[in-house]
């Protein structure tokens, strides 16, 4: 039997320690020499509610959630059990068990907390019959009882980890190591005792009926670290010299805001929590106007409030980097679920023509490199840049070589003149500096920039159309020159990105494949896994992952689309926004592109991409309603 990845799901109520337990679980397996990836699913509430995290671990690439999962540790929802709170939660204690069963794979292992769920509960949900039908191996363990012996019920999660280690033949010393490193003295001993009691009990007293175990790590060539897209965006910003952030909390953007707020003071930077997102973007714009590299960000609704300051940054050619952490919309939508429904919002929000840069990184590594690039371009070209990611990439963890971050920081403020250069530069007879010079040197569209406080660099920055020194001007000739200069920067940026040594677009599968898949943003690696599998099965397919959305990677998309018979555009939204963008920007290919769309709040599994691709090639219907398939124009 070929070695299969362990896909371990821990389920319970919010507040049951699902996040921290799964993070340590993933870290332990990473240290044991496996590749790991986590997938988080949580409700928009502080306590209770259905929440789970999956940890996938294997020796091959584990860059996506897998197909279903094969080990369920369900803690029950301890908060639903609180009698005082029945009115709020109702009878939900079995939910972390029942709600997860549909995706548990055949042959899977199931551990539930016998201390929390009694026989009556189990009979009610007909677990035995379902287990038989699906060849599940069910192990009831009194996790709460083990935890309680050492003082606190909440350590049930540690007990569950101990049982997992025993059932899956995982070296328990990695878990001991992490508990010893991370927990305070009083909790450390108790947790270590719970871990070993649970491990021994499962080892000695449980009759193991399953015949598989977790893969044993081959080891890594170099030291790995485990982090999320939010960590990587923050570290990219810090390495690119960002020293100012302003924000307002909103899920899932809060992650970057928090990480930056905790780290900026170490670098001498400032973090401000302000009254709303309009102020957040305006403060960042103000700080950037002073030559400080600055950022802000939000999620859909908060980003909508930033429209006006974003437009002001475009009009005044003030560099600033905004992060848009997408969640499912419209309006409040599904606040804790991922979606890619904000693409058009990000590209076009704010009145007038857009002149902004939009990158959508695919994974942790790209979050770091593309955030750096966003700052570099914003400050060199005096243009706002947006890093678009989503709730999926925000929270999922994966291992990356530590040396990946071993990069030179860059504090260069971009296109700001020195006072000597200002003295030499063009001024108006009134003494004002030509901040918005019509014809900057070298045919560039980037006009010279002074920063307030510099001698003789005075100018007016205004949201009105303005002349070379910034004064309001409705002169038609000036209007055209200034508008062209602002929007033509996007062509210059496209040319720079096309000439770069490494493209932001990534490719997977044989170059001469007949069919194509186009993906953008966070599920790109899921698509790539599906493409590997399909080629292994004899299908001829390749994929492109698009990150440059404005200016769009037109040449690469043309090359890709020309090279295939048909392409499926895979997106987590209901209307195929990237497909629309490609058609708009390239002016063709509507008859070549179909859409595979998923917008039910859960990210794609690799097998779903395979199903969608087969539907596009063979015709017919998708096998289920979790996704939507939209044929190409004319089909």
């Amino acid at each position: 039997m070929p070695e299969k990845d362990l896909i371990w799901r821990i389920a319970g109520g919010s507040g049951d320690g699902i996040d921290s337990t799964s993070q340590n679980f993933a870290k332990a397996l990473m240290r044991s020499g496996l590749n790991v990836f986590t997938h988080r699913h949580y409700p928009s509430r502080i306590r209770g509610g259905h929440t789970y995290v999956e940890v996938r671990a294997g020796n091959g690439p584990t860059n996506s959630r897998g197909d279903g999962y094969n080990f369920l540790l369900t803690l029950g929802d301890s908060f639903a059990r609180n009698p005082g709170e029945d009115a709020f939660y109702g009878n939900e204690e079995t939910k972390p068990l029942t709600e997860n069963l549909d995706e548990l794979n055949e042959g899977g292992v199931l551990v539930y907390d016998e201390g929390l769920l009694d026989q009556e509960d189990i009979e009610e949900i007909e677990l035995e019959a379902r287990a038989e039908e699906n060849d599940w191996h069910v192990y009831p363990v009194d996790l709460r009882g083990i935890a309680r012996e050492h003082g606190r019920d909440v350590m049930r999660n540690t007990a569950g980890v101990g049982v997992t280690a025993a059932l899956m033949d995982i070296d328990v010393s990695y878990f001991e190591e992490l508990i010893s490193e991370n927990m305070k003295a009083d909790m450390k001993e108790a947790n270590l005792d719970v871990l070993s009691d649970a491990y021994e009990l499962a080892q000695e007293e449980i009759d193991h009926t399953h015949d598989w175990s977790a893969p044993v790590g081959d080891g890594h060539d170099e030291e790995q670290v485990l982090l999320s897209g939010s960590d990587a965006i923050s570290y990219g910003a810090l390495d690119e010299g960002c020293r100012f952030i302003s924000g307002y909390p909103m899920t899932p953007w809060t992650d970057v805001f928090t990480i930056m707020s905790q780290n900026l003071p170490k670098f001498g930077g400032i973090s401000e929590q302000v009254e709303d997102e309009i102020a957040a973007a305006a403060l960042a714009l103000g700080a950037s106007h002073m030559g400080v590299k600055a950022m802000s960000g939000s999620s859909g609704g908060g980003f909508a409030l930033m429209s006006e300051p974003l437009g002001l940054a475009e009009m005044t050619e003030t560099p600033v980097v905004l992060v848009e952490a997408m969640r499912a919309g419209p309006s409040t939508g599904l606040p804790t679920k991922p979606e890619q429904g904000d693409l058009e919002h990000i590209l076009y929000t704010s009145q007038g023509d857009s002149a902004r840069v939009v990158f959508a990184p695919a994974n942790v590594e790209e979050c770091y490199t593309q955030t750096r690039k966003a700052f570099e371009i914003a400050y060199n070209y005096q243009i706002p840049a947006i890093v678009a990611y989503d709730q999926k990439l925000q929270g999922e963890l994966r291992n990356v070589p530590e040396s990946f971050f071993d990069e030179e920081p860059n504090s260069d403020p971009g296109s700001v003149l020195t006072e000597d250069e200002i003295a030499e530069a063009a001024h108006h007879a009134s003494g004002k500096f030509k901040r918005f010079q019509h014809d900057p040197e070298d045919g560039s569209n980037v006009s010279p920039r002074s920063v307030p406080g510099q001698k003789d660099g005075r100018f007016l920055a205004t949201g009105n159309e303005h002349n070379e020194v910034g004064h309001i001007s409705e002169d038609p000739e000036n209007r055209v020159i200034q508008m062209d200069r602002r929007v033509n920067k996007l062509d210059d940026i496209r040319a720079e990105l096309d000439d770069a040594e490494t493209s932001h677009q990534t490719y997977h599968g044989p170059e001469d494949a007949d069919y194509g898949i186009i993906a953008w943003g966070s599920h790109q690696d899921t698509v790539f896994e599906a493409v590997t599998r399909m080629n292994d099965n004899g299908q001829s397919v390749k994929a492109i992952g698009v990150s440059d959305l404005m200016p769009l990677a037109e040449n690469e998309l043309v090359d890709f689309l020309e090279s295939v018979e048909e392409a499926v555009v895979v997106e987590m939204n209901a209307t195929g926004q990237l497909r629309g963008l490609i058609q708009k920007e390239l002016g063709r290919y509507g008859e070549k592109m179909s859409s595979l769309l998923k917008y039910n709040g859960n990210p794609f599994e690799p097998r779903e991409i395979v199903e969608g691709f087969e539907t596009s090639v063979d015709g017919g219907e998708l096998p289920h309603t979790r996704m939507k398939y939209v044929p190409a124009a004319g089909d």
Binding site: K27, R31, E223, V225, L226, L227, D231, Y235, D239, R243, F244, S246, N263, P265, K266, F267, G268, G269, I270, V274, E275, D276, I278, A279, A280, A282, L283, L285, G286, A287, S288, H289, M290, G291, V292, E308, P309, L312, Y368, F405, D406, E407, E408, P409, S430, K432, P452, G453, Q454, D456, G457, R458, F459, L460, A461, T462, G463, N464, H471, I472
Partner: protein, 287 residues
Amino acid sequence: MSSDVRFTDFKSDKQPTWCPGCGDFGTMNGMMKALAETGNHPDETFIVAGIGCSGKIGTYMHSYALHGVHGRALPVGTGVKLANPDLEVMVAGGDGDGYSIGVGHFIHAVRRNVDMSYVVMDNRIYGLTKGQASPTSREDFETSTSPDGTNQQPVNPKALALSAGATFIAQSFSSDSQRHTELVKQAIEHDGFGFVNVYSPCVTFNDVDTYDYFRDSIVDLEDTEHDSSSFDQAKDRILESEKEYIGVLYQDDDSIPYEQREGIEGSMAEIPDGAPDGATDLVREFY
């Protein structure tokens, strides 16, 4: 800072497009005089304004300036001042800009107490959009969009400021040039957020709150026993709806500007000891 700056150095070559007789002329002249007399140089001064007649002030002044989004001048000014505390930052606005669309920012700018001044040209009307009611318009003020009056209490911006923890509140009148200049100077020199509401009449659209009305109603606090260090007296003066006081209503002499508080002071100017080189020094915690 240079000491030989004259107030005309703050004047741009652009002629204001305000209506002849507009209160904003006097308001702006006082601002320029106050900036020059407090020793500020136009290269080291930043004027931020929003939208409306008041918003154009950055065009008419020859300093660094930003004319931004309606109601959002205060957050831009806050970002500017935090990023460069050495600049003299003056935010200008109108009653619509500051007390209607931007009133949320006003409250938070007051409580944040960043060391900048905020001069509001309060004409109790929307002028540039041709005469609609503003948040400071009187309850029975009839306009094109409120034909039966606003039927709402006018906002009391000084009361809002006091309740939000203001450390400097003054009221001036645009046509009393000397007194107005003096009050703006005090706002500039105040350590913290210096708020000056200026009666700055609109001669075109407001036939109620006119120069004559203000001249007849104004009482200078200097002619009274008012103690501006007393919160209670400030509260009483501010809530007396029948009187139009000018002068410093309230000043907290112990005010510490936000940017001088621990953890913020000097943070932009110097790199702290032991600062990490970058991500490479931080990712270790993820092992």
